[in-house]
Symmetry: C2
Subunit: 126 residues, 2 copies
Amino acid sequence: MTSTPDATTPAGGLDPAIAARLKRGADGLVPAIAQQYDTGEVLMLGWMDDEALHRTLTTGRCTYWSRSRQEYWVKGDTSGHVQHVKSVALDCDADTVLVKVDQTGAACHTGDRTCFDADVLPLHDS
Amino acid sequence: MTSTPDATTPAGGLDPAIAARLKRGADGLVPAIAQQYDTGEVLMLGWMDDEALHRTLTTGRCTYWSRSRQEYWVKGDTSGHVQHVKSVALDCDADTVLVKVDQTGAACHTGDRTCFDADVLPLHDS
């Protein structure tokens, strides 16, 4: 585990009442949708464990678990493309997180505003 | 596997060029975000395998794989709360689907418009 952004935050600091409800996948993660709070754009989907959700709720910065790098990832720490957290909600099954954010610059590492801009699939009748 | 909505649609009918790019989880599924196409509301998150994505692209109706029931699920077939497909996109990593839909009625089985209406988590400073 990497060091916490706030050294006073204990690991596993997620509110036990939330942790008890959260339904994680086999890998201990839940999908987290980041949406621009005012325009409604769906920016990206990341993954959170309990600690990433805790940090997202308490630091004001959207924090994911990077499955490829196997470490916490504070969005924008490297790129400057920060996600300031406006609100966080669980879905009806408590197995998905929706984070409304104010996205600085591009959400996508390709430079696109969202991760869904570049690859629109063709619809066709069967 | 359940019978296809269109009996002429072969199983495994997803365009091979899309199937070759799609990055599935260990369970063979990708998360699929449903968003109301005009208001931008994030309605729900479901899961798709290749066949569910194929049906979503070709039938005009959003189709998921139900992890709890282990069967294909044409949204609205039971409830009448249909999702008419407006557009489908993959994200930059080809491991998430965004479906813009026109949602009839409530997206959530609880009767809420979206699955994220009822459980907003408190934000607080650490």
